[in-house]
Structure formats: structure tokens, C-alpha cells
Symmetry: C2
Subunit: 457 residues, 2 copies
């Protein structure tokens, strides 16, 4: 954003067309041929760029604000230069220079022969590009785009905004990463008061209500809806507003959780379920858990809900050694039995997963499914238990844990890669429907709505 704002503020209208031939490229051309290229360039440029408006959708929203559009009337590019290091250097009218590699530009030619506007697919094949390719000419067109000519006569034109959105400078890359960073709101037990239920009917009829609901789950980790019909099938109705439920070994849709005889799962008893995340035995645990209370327990059955990211960062602060142990010790989670299908699942990973920037991205913790088998040297075992104990203490701290009992007709939907949840023991005919979705589909939906409605968040 900062880059764009600054760019807008500093634009100087020049209207000038600057054309440069690199010394290197000149060597391979006769003057006559270079001239004949000039003659055909304008027509070719029109052909290659005729569909440009179509082929440059605002796919990276942080650079495609209405302000950017207005800049198209002014000059954005001051100069272009073919550098002997294999890059085209673009000097912006707003100041600064960006470099774009020759081969990258050829690969990403936006003309209809090289890029399918209809499908958004690249038509250029790797086998057809010489990694050492260099353009023979480069020029600025109306201060708004650069046009390159390749050794075989093919021409490519690139809009200044398209180029700036893909700048390789450290500053631009940092800004893009920052813009993509999840806007997380960490919380403790006080979050209970902020859990304002949304009417289920609104989710079923109003796309923006649906967007806000799942956007909240993305940032806060959970959201609540009420006046859900007290019968099975409601999670499927909700999921189908976006995509579909994720099938698991419990079945294709929801599964009913109440006391069953001879169950293979503690969840299907009235016993307390200690805090955990669901599906740690899968390679990719379900991203989102939907709990729909069809009938509340006569006594007990409250849910415990903890922001696992918040707890993890607290642990990191309080006890860095424990945090390190939980982010590096491989733990196997295993489950086998028979529900919708027979299953025999096992997956090994740390309890707290970090990305390459050290941010917490997933909690997988189900103490009851943790395998006795550990692939670590014996001396790492006791420190790991000490770390799990410290983690458990943070999770169950009263400041961290929401304790809430769902009423019949309420559904809580939460991030299963983030929230650690439990259930108090209960008496009576409690009936809760459980179902899953994945983040791919939900984030895809959020992206579609942002794109279609030109939202920034």
C-alpha cells in the first residue's frame, strides 16, 4: 500500500516515449533490421495488447485500489533499459528502479498467443524458452507500459501496474508478504462476552453475513450462530453455501455425537474429553470444525475453547525451552477402528507447527491419541513431558479458557488448526452434530467474495 500511495503522489506526467537499445543486443542486429522492426511495431503492439484489460485481473488486491486506476492517466514509467546482467531496468516516474529478468518477461508475455485470457493459463511452454533469452529492443509506451521485442520478432507489452505488482525488490516483496499475513486477533477467556451469535437464516441468505462469519473464524478463530434448526443436516446446508463438507472416517457429512455402547471413541461416551484438536491422525487435519447442538445435556457437556495460538505464544514467552521442545519433538497420533469406514491412521508431527518465519500455524494436540512410540533419543523424553505439562498448564489457565454450554439450536464453528477444545462430562441425552470443512475451500470463498466485491479485507 505504502509503495502504491507513494507512487501515486510522486507521478510526474511526461508523456514521453523513451526507447533504448542495449549495446549487447545491438550487436546482433543490423541497423536495417532494427528499423524494419520499428515499422511493424505499432501494429504488433496493438495485437499483443488488445486483450490486456481482460488478462490483468486484479489478482493481487493490495495493489489494485481505485487510486491505482486514476494513475493510468499519468506517466508511471520514466525510462526502460536493457541491462547486461539479464534484466530489464524500469525507472519509475515516482522514483526508484525495478529490475525484471529477461527470461521471466518472456515467460510471462501477456499477449493472447502466450497467455490465455479466458482460462488465465500460461501458454508458453518451458521447452520453448531459452533461459538465456534477451530482448533486442525495449521502449516505454505512453509512460504506461514497456514493450519488448525478442530475437524471433515476437513482441510483449507489460503494463506498469502489472510490473509494479510483481516487483522483485526486497521492499516490494516485504510489503506483499505483510499484506498477505493473517490478521490474527489473539484472545483469552474474555472472548466469551464477544461471542455474539449470528442468525443462521442470515448465513443461509446473505452472502456478506456468510463472508463476515467465516472471516471472523479466520481472524478470531471462532464464531457462533443461533436459531439453527434442531435436526441433522444443518452443517451440510451451511457448507454448501460455500463448497462442501470434508468427508472423514466418520462419514461424508455430519456425525452424531451422543453416548453409544461399545464405541471406539471416548467422544461417544458421557465422559469428559480433555482439551484437544480433532484429526491429528490425518496428514492434513480438517481445518474447520462445526459443532451443532441439537439437544443439550441435562447436566454438564459444556465446551472448553482455548486459543491455541495465544497459548503457544504465551508458552514461548514464559518457557522458551518448553516451546522449543513442542515445536521440534515428533509426536505420533494414531487411531484405528470402524465408523463409516474401517480406518488405521497415524501421523507424526510436532504439537506446535511453525512456518519458516517462526509463526505458529497449526496446533495438533490430542493427548489421548498420542502414541507411546517416540522416535527421539531417550534423553529428550523427560524434557518433552516437562514441556507438555507446561503447555497443559497454559491451556487450562482460567484466563485462557472459555467455558460455554451450547444451547439446542446453536452451532459453534472454529479453526481446528488453532483452537484447542474439550468437553465436560455429561448426563442425559445430549446430541451434538460434528462436521468438518477445510481451509482451502473457506479461504477460496473469502477470496472470491473479496475479488467480486473489491473488498480489502
Amino acid at each position: 500500500m505504502a509503495l502504491l500511495t507513494r507512487g501515486v503522489a510522486r507521478i510526474i506526467t511526461s508523456g514521453q516515449v523513451t526507447k533504448l537499445l542495449s549495446t549487447t543486443s545491438m550487436k546482433s542486429l543490423s541497423c536495417g533490421r532494427a528499423l524494419s522492426f520499428n515499422v511493424s511495431r505499432m501494429a504488433s503492439s496493438m495485437r499483443c495488447t488488445g486483450r490486456k484489460a481482460e488478462v490483468s485481473p486484479p489478482s493481487h488486491r493490495w495493489f489494485s485500489t481505485p487510486a491505482a486506476e486514476s494513475v493510468r492517466t499519468a506517466s508511471a514509467i520514466e525510462k526502460v533499459r536493457l541491462d547486461s546482467d539479464g534484466v530489464v531496468e524500469v525507472e519509475w516516474s515516482s522514483g526508484g528502479v525495478s529490475s525484471f529478468p529477461y527470461v521471466w518477461l518472456r515467460d510471462n508475455c501477456q499477449c493472447p498467443d502466450c497467455h490465455s485470457a479466458m482460462t488465465g493459463f500460461r501458454r508458453v511452454m518451458i521447452k520453448d524458452i531459452d533461459p538465456s533469452i534477451a530482448p533486442v529492443t525495449a521502449e516505454v509506451v505512453d509512460g504506461k507500459s514497456i514493450q519488448l521485442e525478442w530475437p524471433d520478432g515476437h513482441r510483449s507489452e507489460f503494463d506498469w501496474q502489472w510490473l509494479q505488482d510483481r516487483s522483485f525488490t526486497q521492499e516490494a516483496r516485504d510489503q506483499r508478504r505483510e499484506a498477505k499475513r493473517r490478521k490474527l486477533q489473539l484472545w483469552g477467556s474474555e472472548q466469551l462476552e464477544k461471542l455474539q451469535p449470528v442468525e443462521f437464516d442470515a448465513l443461509m441468505t446473505d452472502e456478506m453475513a456468510l463472508y463476515d462469519f467465516f472471516n471472523t473464524i479466520d481472524t478470531v478463530g471462532l464464531a457462533l450462530t443461533r436459531n439453527v434448526p434442531c435436526k441433522v443436516g444443518q452443517q451440510q446446508r451451511l457448507a454448501e453455501r460455500i463448497a462442501y463438507l470434508r468427508p472423514t472416517h466418520y462419514g461424508l457429512h455430519e456425525s452424531s455425537v451422543y453416548s453409544k455402547p461399545n464405541t471406539s471413541n471416548l467422544a461417544f461416551t458421557g465422559q469428559r474429553l480433555h482439551c484437544h484438536t480433532d484429526m491429528p491422525q490425518y496428514s492434513s487435519p480438517a481445518g474447520i470444525l462445526l459443532l451443532h447442538c441439537v439437544q443439550e445435556a441435562e447436566e454438564g457437556g459444556e465446551n472448553e475453547l482455548i486459543d491455541g495460538y495465544h497459548a503457544a505464544y504465551q508458552l514461548k514467552e514464559k518457557d522458551p525451552e518448553a516451546f522449543h521442545a513442542l515445536t521440534t519433538t515428533p509426536v505420533s497420533f494414531a487411531m484405528h477402528g470402524k465408523d463409516y469406514i474401517r480406518y488405521d491412521l497415524e501421523k507424526t508431527r510436532p504439537i506446535i507447527s511453525l512456518n519458516s518465519e517462526g509463526e505458529v500455524v497449526r496446533i495438533c494436540y490430542a493427548n489421548q491419541l498420542r502414541s507411546a512410540l517416540m522416535d527421539v533419543p531417550v534423553e529428550r523424553v523427560q524434557p518433552f513431558y516437562r514441556a507438555m505439562r507446561a503447555w497443559d498448564d497454559v491451556l487450562y489457565h482460567p484466563d485462557n479458557c472459555i467455558l460455554t454450554k451450547l444451547n439446542a439450536g446453536e452451532m459453534v464453528v472454529f479453526d481446528n488448526w488453532r483452537l484447542v477444545h474439550g468437553r465436560r462430562g455429561f448426563q442425559g441425552g445430549r446430541h451434538v452434530q460434528t462436521a468438518y470443512m477445510d481451509w482451502d475451500e473457506v479461504r477460496s470463498f473469502l477470496g472470491v467474495v473479496r475479488r467480486e466485491r473489491n473488498l480489502n479485507n
Copy 2:
């Protein structure tokens, strides 16, 4: 296996019960109390171990061969010792010593109070274990198990085989990893002759045929079935023999691939599709791709199938720099459009993914979906293109690429994390059904069958 075999060969029958009290633990006990524990130990041991046969299923098959069972008649444990370093040392009758941490043993007590035989779940909670816990006594029972007594009087008994299967020694851990390592068969174009189609009816009726089919896909990467009814829905029938199809933005079940007007996807034209893997725009790309030919093209439409693992290892050998670039350069794959749902998906990862041991575990490569946006310093761009060109050359080498045309009624099923596939351009009413499954469900099925039939592979 080697550990077990050697263990079996060297067993010496002693029948002796060795009991040791660690000096540390002795200090906290009066002799009288120690004696009274002895009196109650046998009854308690019976209670705690009464369900042992139930609670120790052969979950790690490489140690549960018939040979292992016969050893239970002989002595397996020579001595047990409480070490001051927080571990129980077990001296095997076959030679060698294994150490098991105190807290790990307490956590994994197999008695019915601590471990649910019915569900396989752990009942011991982290909050209830002091990470510094130490047993007060340890003894060998009948040369077959060790029994520990904890400060609160709780007793735990551990079978020798259960312990050996979970040994923390480097040797045991290496052997377990080796046993779990995938048995891959890499191949080139010669594999075409080995593609013996299995009758579809056999897959629908014979569990071992189904097991062999998917086990082949796990090891070789692909398998072929014939005499599949020439109508939609056959992949779903096959998937439901195991679990279910994976829903994608193409829908809940199969999607039909033939030429369509105004498509958002090149696949739905008659054009050539260059070699790629499917779904690189997903966080977890579908693991298995099922292509069912309902109607073959009048002309063209052959499939190209390449073992991506084999190609990757060839590249590593021939051009380590290119291999390094493809395993470390983040590449974004993006796709948006509308099929079963509206979607806007993007995921960034290297083209070749390695595990922590440097083994190739996933190929994600769809040149047409590769985003122009790259988060790398500009100087890494040209070397990356050089690497992609080298990779492309390996993939398309005639020695690597199977070219085969599916006939109507044939279905090829392959590992989408491994095979790179393409399709030649075609004329006429070609109709191929495409569907997906995930490895979690397929490997779970293979595990279930192995467990139920006591198979080693």
C-alpha cells in the same frame, strides 16, 4: 526385523524373577512398607494386566511376526534396574540393554485405569503426571514383563515385546524408520509393458485384488484396470470400496472431461495438455488421480505418464544445482474460476518437495498455472528458469515417458504426488471421467488389510 530375529535366536530360558530396588527409591521407603507392597503386588498385577492381550494389538507390524509369539514361552528379560538418570534399564536375555524413561512409562501404563482397551485411547492426563516421577520398585515377572510400582502405590506392568517394539535405542529407531520407508520402484518408459490391467470386477469383489491394486499404486505409482462400465460413476464405486472420493472445485464425485465452449480450464478443450500434476493450487493436492475413459478420442488424446520421483532423482544426479533450485524456490500456483463452486485458490511451494531425510516426497508442477509473481531476489530468477528447463528435458526424455492411449472401459489410477502426466491434443468426442482420492484413506485401507490379514507388505 534384524533386532527381532537376533532376539529370538539368543533367548536363554531362565524363568528367574529378578527384582531390584534403586538406591534412590529405597531412601523414600521403609523396609516394612516395601515388604507390604510385595504382598499386594501379585493381586494388583493381575488386575492391571488382565486385559493386556487386548491392549497390545500388533500396531507395529514389523515386530509382530509369528516368530515373536513363540518367544513368549521363553525368558526375554534378564534384569531390570532403576537408574538414577530417570530411566528404567532393561537387560534383554538376548543381550543388550534398553532404557525407558520413568515419566514415559507412567504415561503409558497399560492398565485399564490408564488405558482404554476398547478405544485404544490413553486415559492418563498430562496434568496428573509429575514429569519428575520415579518408580519406587521394579521387578521382572516370569522373564516376560517388568512391573513397576509408583509412589502412590499404582502399579504398571509392561510386556517385553511391547517394550522392545518401542525401544529408544538408535538401532531400534533406525530399524523402525527403515521398516516404514516406502518401497518405491522407480521406472521409465519400459514400464508400459508391465502395465497389466486388472479386471474391474475383481476390484469390486475381491479385497485382496483391491489391496494389490492400491499397493501397486503406492510402490510403483500407477495401476490400470479394464472392463470398467462405460458410464459415469465408476470411480465413485471404486472409491467406496475403500472410503470416498475427495471433493474438489470440480464437484463431489467425478467430473467429465471433454471439449466445452467458454471453459475456464485448458483441460476442457481439445488442446494438448503439457505434463503436470493436478491441484497444485491446493494446500494439500489430491493424492490420487483416477482417469476413466468412457469414450476414446477419434484421433489423439494419448496420455503421457512420467515417474516424477525418478525424473527428480535423475535431475539430482545430472544437475545438482537445478535440483537444488527446484527444491528451494517457492513457486505459486493459482487458479480461479467457476465449476461446481466459485473458487480462487493459490498455494506457494517448491516444485520438488523433500522430507527431512532429503527424499523426494511430492512433485507439484503445472507450468500453465504457475504465477508470474515470485517471492525471490531477482538474481535467483534466471537460474530457476534454467533449472525448470533442465527438469522439463528430463521429464520429456523418451526413456522416461510412457505414451499410452486409454481405450474406452479402461481406468488408470495414479499417485498425483508422484506422476507427472499430460495429454496429447485430440479430435472427436473424447470423454474421460476424472476423480480424486487422498493418500490418508488409501494408506489407511492398506493398513487395515495388513492388520486384519497379518500381512507384512
